[in-house]
Amino acid sequence: MAAPRPMTITEKILAAHAGVPWVEPGQLVEVRVDFLMANDITAPLAIRAFREMGATRVFDPERVAIVLSHFAPSKDIRSADQCKVAREFAREQGLVHYYEMGEGIEHALLPDRGLVLPGELVLGADSHTCTYGAVGCFSTGVGSTDLAYAMATGETWLKVPETLKFVYYNRLQPWVTGKDLILYTIGRISCDGATYKAMEFTGEALADLSMDGRLAMANMAIEAGGKNGIFNPDQRTLDYVARRAQRPCSPVWSDPDAEYAEVYEFDAARIEPQVALPWSPDNVRPLSEVERVPIDQVFIGSCTNGRLDDLRTAARILRGRRVHPEVRAIVIPASRDIYLQALKEGLIEIFMAAGCVVSASTCGPCLGGHMGVLGKGERCVSTSNRNFVGRMGHPESESYLANPAVAAASAVAGRLCHPEELGIRYEEVAGVA
């Protein structure tokens, strides 16, 4: 059936899941969902709402994931009790995709296990659920009650968003990653610049980006208020998915003449490594213009930058070097699979020899939960996605968001630092694990 209007990838996915030939921005649709996720913080509230709704069974035990990653391994009795609520529900409902502590951070685990696929519609009770748009699905974060409704019915309601198109021309400069592109973008449009809207990422610079780099970009769409962040699938996407997919899927692509609310064009060749200063992810500056402030801690990990690419990059900087004596450095692979691969490649040994703490997969430090909470007045360079007041600990602590190469170099220097300030040339370390 031919659609009477060209559509963006976001519109096509929403139309297909509403069972209608086409949709347009502003329209309310009731849509079928393909996959749902909750974590140990959001699941307990969702489970309570699910029961209050009078629901007894989830709509499909193969399509609801519960991932314990925030306060897991549990830091105290009360967080253990919350994990227990989630765990018991998963067992009661026979959830096929229940992941215990250490299996991974949800947004690394689900794409890597082939549970979120091109053309699909995914909801997660976590704001960074938008990460999965990197594989060409519509995925968005919701609260626990919305998730409960979807668990019970297999449906949700959404307003079709307008789409903003972000085009990145030219080639990436050395040391510039997906993290830098998204920080740059958020800095340009501000932290409510995409509120209620879809963010579609495209352009030749992104063709060079690994799936890990694209996942980092889509991950931070929410930091601009975006409803979803999304990439049209290319051969790299399809190859990534083909090795992992746990069910068949139907990729879709934006029509060439689709309508966009706005188109932003950026010259990637002019973008250098970026830093978000306290206390907002949109308080972004090029690293060259940021004061080289002394730091107390470095955190390399999280659902934004705890992937294999990120660990390889950090290891290239830290190989044969030592973390500055006045700095604590924490490295957390985002999943067990990533941890195992990093072990095989010798990355974990490099981190340990450099003096880093390496932990099992957890979201702990990113949200000031555990495993790296900051004290009063302390300063951290973090590869995570948020640097709000009190995000990583004391309300008077400060977080600077940066890519893994900058974070690793800063750990060695004891201050914010570009890798080249350590005499490291990109050409010498690129491609070397």
Partner: protein, 190 residues
């Protein structure tokens, strides 16, 4: 009648309820730490019926539903803002925390002054002068959820109507929403 607690733009869910307290879902306990990292005087000073007035993008950041739960449990009658972040907006409606988008009121109202809010009419009255501000009305679909008292009751009725049988089939979505684009540019569906 309640007093105004006034805050700025981009009030995020981390300052509304810091993650270090997310080891509980108990509303009273969450309320005790509400706004702690932004305004330590809020939780002890807020009285039932008070309102929060804030700038753009209120509730940005984390999807934690604990944030509107904490505000509601603290006794806040409603949040009036220039705009709300998308997930927070849905969560507030879903848990029964009234919210109003009203830039004029945000500009005019000052911390500590008394206001009266008529949620059904979407009006905010400044007690000292009688001046009234009109917020944007909720779109029809949102009103339906509010009429049910939130998403839990809305879902309970829907599930009961279906005989509690999980539905996989797609509903007549456009019909249910009153026709394509029928809700206009309202806030529903964020």
């Amino acid at each position: 009648m309640g007093r105004v607690w006034k805050y700025g733009d981009d009030i995020n869910t981390d300052v509304i309820i810091p993650a270090r307290y997310l080891f509980t879902t108990d509303p009273a306990e969450l309320a005790a730490h509400c706004m702690e990292d932004l305004d330590p005087s809020f939780a002890s000073g807020v009285r039932p019926g008070d309102v929060i007035v804030a700038g753009r993008n209120f509730g940005c950041g984390s999807s934690r539903e604990h944030a509107p739960v904490a505000i509601r449990a603290a006794g806040v009658r409603c949040v009036i803002a220039r705009s709300f972040a998308r997930i927070f907006y849905r969560n507030a409606i879903n848990v029964g925390l009234p919210i109003l988008e009203c830039p004029d009121a945000v500009v005019a109202l000052e911390a500590g002054e008394e206001v009266e809010v008529d949620l059904a009419a979407g009006t905010i009255r400044r007690v000292a002068t009688g001046e009234t501000f009109q917020a944007a009305p909720f779109p029809p679909f949102m009103q339906e959820i509010l009429r049910c008292g939130g998403l839990v009751e809305y879902a309970r009725r829907k599930l009961a109507a279906q005989g509690a049988q999980p539905a996989r089939a797609t509903q007549a979505a456009q019909g249910a929403a009153g026709g394509g684009g029928g809700a206009g540019r309202g806030a529903a569906g964020r």
